[in-house]
């Protein structure tokens, strides 16, 4: 009997699968951003409740850091363009979303040996989502160098802390749910 083995693609390569999964993730993120754009967080500067944020960390965690970054960055840009007709105005927020997806994608590379069961994978996904949010959204402080009216206090109290709290909750709740829902399908698809 002849067997054929195929090496797993590097997590840093941009394959067709990376492109398509990232595009679908970005489209889901953009559409749900558009449909829920009205739920603002009180006492924050244009921070919205976005449960769909969990899709970014999920795509990063499941399909790799590149797919995660593209989902967050492109999804947020296109979603802002759909909702506010201003996809580029606050580009650093899009980069922050992308970085969160990227960081979430690093966890399976670091902790592959510890994810032996579906439960441990779900817990790791939740932790990855929260850590990715805390780290990725540090990038929004770039605003202080870009917009003159932004100060550290305003950025910290009215932007960073609200968005990290809201998105951490979304990531901690949604990412493991999506991971648990995706795993059986992944086995069926043979991926």
């Amino acid at each position: 009997m002849t067997t054929m083995t195929q090496a797993a693609p590097s997590p840093w390569s941009i394959t067709t699968r990376t492109i398509v999964y990232a595009a679908i993730g970005a489209a889901i993120y953009a559409v749900l951003n558009y449909l829920s754009f009205g739920i603002q967080v009180p006492w924050s500067q244009e921070v919205s409740i976005r449960p769909q944020y969990g899709v970014v960390t999920f795509v990063g965690f499941t399909f790799g850091p590149i797919a995660g970054f593209l989902t967050g960055f492109v999804g947020n840009t296109v979603g802002d363009q759909l909702a506010y007709q201003d996809g580029f105005g606050y580009w650093w927020w899009s980069v922050a979303n992308g970085l969160a997806g990227f960081v979430a994608g690093l966890f399976p590379l670091w902790m592959a040996s510890r994810m032996t069961s579906a439960g441990s994978k779900a817990v790791t996904a939740a932790v990855a989502g929260v850590v990715a949010t805390v780290v990725g959204f540090l990038f929004i402080f770039v605003e202080m160098a870009i917009l003159p009216e932004s100060t550290f206090d305003v950025m910290l109290t009215l932007n960073y802390i609200p968005v990290v709290i809201v998105n951490s909750i979304a990531a901690a709740v949604v990412t493991p749910i999506l991971v648990l829902a995706w795993e059986p399908l992944r086995d069926q698809l043979g991926r």
């Binding site: 941009i14 394959t15 067709t16 699968r17 492109i19 398509v20 999964y21 990232a22 595009a23 679908i24 993730g25 970005a26 489209a27 889901i28 953009a30 559409v31 749900l32 558009y34 449909l35 009205g38 739920i39 603002q40 006492w43 924050s44 500067q45 244009e46 409740i49 449960p51 899709v55 999920f58 593209l70 492109v74 999804g75 296109v78 363009q81 759909l82 506010y84 007709q85 201003d86 996809g87 580029f88 105005g89 870009i146 917009l147 003159p148 009216e149 932004s150 100060t151 305003v154 009215l158 809201v166 979304a170 709740v173 949604v174 749910i177 999506l178 829902a181 995706w182 399908l185 698809l189």
Partner: protein, 280 residues
């Protein structure tokens, strides 16, 4: 509500421009507006941006909802949060604020500086929206990929953005179908009660099946692209783009705005401006 880029400005002067112009214009204005803090200068930018916007001939009745949303909600939150921030930024940080009144239960001071800063932020958002609308409404959705490719983005990433734009109507329809299916099962998408966690949990029955279903269905797209040898060589785009002199003129005009804004900033001529009628 269906999410999609609507080509409302079809046939307008701006829609006839190279699509790269419609992407470059807002990018350049983002740079320019970030250099300016003086609301009077930003109002000049708004006038220029409105001139550009009017060239897209986007019917008002079709985008009224978007504009009202932008003006009312974004404006309200910008102003509200600007007031809470206190306006102690830039040149106002060191000076004594002009307290106009105090909100009794909280003791918050509403200052002329805070209102001026909030108004500045609001005007900046309006300028960016004016040049952002044509991307959504005066650019053929099929042109995103090729335009980004010709702007220097790698083929694969340009295709990824192209796919994202193409998937949006499909995903939006899938969202509606999933909401309808869950509504039959007793799901109430209009419920507004509860805090953030409750709201997130309430949306889970919709976006979990939608996300997993969409990703599972992506295998057909992946196979179709692989069978056509996607990514094995240089990609050829069906749509050919030609940058004409008029396109250069538009980009040049926005480039001039950027250079002027940078010069004003570097010369220290664009500090926050205290609206005089607030302190009389």
């Amino acid at each position: 509500m269906r999410a999609a880029f609507r080509y409302l400005g079809r046939g307008s002067w701006l829609s006839g421009r190279d699509p790269r112009v419609l992407i470059l214009a807002p990018l350049l204005l983002v740079v320019a507006s970030s250099q300016l803090s003086d609301i009077r200068q930003l109002l000049v930018v708004v006038v220029l941006a409105y001139g550009y916007y009017s060239l897209a001939r986007i019917p008002w009745h079709s985008v009224r909802a978007q504009w009202l949303y932008l003006l009312a909600v974004i404006g309200f939150y910008s102003l509200l949060n600007g007031l809470i921030a206190g306006g102690r930024v830039g040149v106002f940080a060191e000076s004594e604020p002009h307290v106009l009144w105090t909100i009794p239960p909280f003791g918050w001071d509403i200052t002329a500086e805070a209102i001026s800063v909030a108004a500045t932020r609001f005007v900046r958002v309006i300028a960016l929206a004016l040049v952002g609308f044509p991307i959504a409404f005066a650019m053929a959705p099929g042109d995103f990929g090729v335009a980004l490719r010709r702007l220097g983005l790698p083929d694969r990433l340009a295709v990824m953005v192209d796919l994202t734009v193409r998937f949006i109507p499909t995903i939006s329809d899938e969202f509606s179908d999933t909401v309808d299916a869950q509504r039959v099962r007793g799901y109430d998408p209009t419920a507004r009660r509860g805090g953030p966690i409750t709201r997130i949990r309430r949306m889970a029955p919709v976006f979990v099946p939608m996300t997993v279903g969409s990703l599972a269905g992506a295998e057909d797209t992946i196979d179709a692209m692989d069978l056509r040898a996607f990514g094995t060589g240089r990609r050829v785009w069906y749509r050919a783009l030609h940058f004409e002199w008029m396109d250069w003129l538009v980009v040049g005009a926005f480039g001039t705005v950027v250079v002027t804004a940078m010069a004003l900033n570097w010369a220290g001529l664009s500090e926050h401006y205290l609206l005089p009628f607030l302190v009389r």
